[in-house]
């Protein structure tokens, strides 16, 4: 308990979190501080490339064993399952209609790569290793949840809106392709490749992440100011309860798979985090009648900050306890 608290405190006073807080506060105070869209996009591509590459290098260091396959499978299953678990919870505590509830739940089966990146960053500053292939698990968990949401909706209405085209779009969306692609580049080029571009993707990484989190804070704050008032208490509660449910399942799975402390923590982070890029884009197309104000705001302005500030230290402490580290 004491460990969690001191960890939480260290986390809360890290430049990463403080940068997020700065953005958040600036937005709530209605400052005109904004980040150019192109710069934010470029920064996110940089983070994806770097995290994928480093994951690949780490796999090339330790070799691939059966656990990679198992972890991927577990990730896909969890991504399918989490919305189905979340859906009745959300319906019960919020009273959202079937469509909106299904769409919101889908976000929690998928993942937030920035939360994942922040998680690896916490591990790094504590000198805790983790399975490099967790990056691949992250990529694998992006999409399945979408299917669960559509199944939940169709049970009520009996129609489907997913065409082949939309599937292609989701599975080949930029984040997934870049993450997997750079993972493979890292795996192929290994330490030699890393040495060549280390001072681009390793040393400035944390600073770049600060700037990115500053922008995320701005977006989350603006979201909360714009729509936050409109979120019912039940919905907001879900945005905090669901990560904890997800993290518990992730913890169990991680331990069953025999992952390291770092690996268990990252699995928890993946399950606890909610998508705000891939799933919203797919939902806009497939379920236009769902209210984007609910799902985007909840995922960005409630769950993301919760995970960043409180979730990460909790998940790490639990992972440590479970793996006896």
């Amino acid at each position: 308990m004491d460990g969690i608290l001191s960890l939480a405190l260290a986390n809360l006073t890290s430049p990463l979190i403080l940068s997020f807080v700065l953005g958040f506060v600036a937005a709530l105070a209605r400052s005109d501080l904004t980040f150019p869209e192109a710069a934010a996009k470029a920064l996110s591509l940089y983070l994806l490339f770097a995290i994928g590459f480093k994951g690949g290098v780490s796999v090339s260091d330790h070799g691939v064993d059966g656990s990679l396959g198992l972890a991927l499978l577990a990730g896909v299953v969890l991504s399918f399952l989490l919305p189905i678990i979340g859906f009745p919870v959300l319906r019960t505590i919020s009273g959202l209609d079937r469509t909106n509830a299904a769409v919101v739940a889908a976000h929690y089966g998928s993942i937030s790569i920035v939360t994942f990146v922040a998680g690896t960053s916490v591990l790094e500053s504590q000198g805790i290793a983790s399975e490099g292939y967790m990056v691949a698990v992250a990529a694998a968990m992006e999409a399945p949840a979408i299917l669960s949401a559509l199944w939940l909706i169709s049970r009520g209405e009996g129609d489907r809106r997913m065409d082949a085209e939309l599937w292609r779009e989701i599975l080949l969306n930029g984040s997934i392709v870049l993450l997997i692609g750079s993972f493979f580049i890292g795996m192929i080029t290994g330490q030699d490749g890393l040495r060549e571009i280390e001072s681009f993707i390793v040393s400035p990484f944390k600073g770049a992440l600060c700037i990115f989190l500053l922008d995320m804070g701005l977006i989350a704050g603006r979201g909360l100011r714009g729509r936050g008032g409109g979120l019912s208490l039940g919905v907001v509660a879900f945005g905090i309860i669901m990560p904890l449910i997800g993290a518990s399942l992730g913890a169990g799975t991680g331990v069953l798979l025999g992952l390291t402390t770092g690996g268990v923590m990252l699995m928890m982070v993946l399950c606890a985090s909610a998508s705000y890029i891939a799933v919203p884009a797919a939902m806009r197309v497939a379920v236009p009648e769902a209210d984007a104000g609910i799902y985007l705001t909840l995922s960005l302005a409630i769950t993301f900050p919760f995970n960043l500030a409180l979730g990460l230290p909790i998940y790490l402490a639990v992972a440590k306890a479970l793996t006896g580290a």
């Binding site: 085209e165 714009g226 919203p280 009648e289």
Partner: protein, 103 residues
């Protein structure tokens, strides 16, 4: 200078629908259009601004087609099939064009 009657159709639609819309235009044999970025706005679903957004789920684009008057109905129908349930505004106005052979 010799000008010819034409219609200018402007469609404001969510960015994730852009490809579907242009595909529908191609299928309706409307091969001339231009796409402009919309950087913010307001509608029944509230205000939004593209500033700092990282996904494309939140943005909108404006697609402008200049077409011969007789092609308008076909165009509107195929546009409507895409825009139907979606956020979006479709407006049509009269205009004149130079070089009508291009349309």
């Amino acid at each position: 200078m010799q000008t010819h009657d034409a219609k200018r159709v402007a469609i404001i639609i969510e960015a994730p629908m852009e490809k579907r819309l242009t595909r529908a235009l191609d299928q309706a044999d409307v091969t001339g259009y231009s796409i402009l970025d919309v950087k913010g706005g307001s509608g029944r679903s509230g205000r939004w601004s593209g500033a700092g957004h990282i996904g494309s789920a939140n943005g909108m684009v404006q697609v402008v087609c200049i077409i011969r008057p007789e092609k308008l109905d076909g165009l509107l129908e195929s546009v409507f099939s895409v825009v139907d349930k979606h956020i979006g505004v479709v407006s049509v106005s009269d205009c004149q064009v130079l070089r009508a052979e291009r349309f």
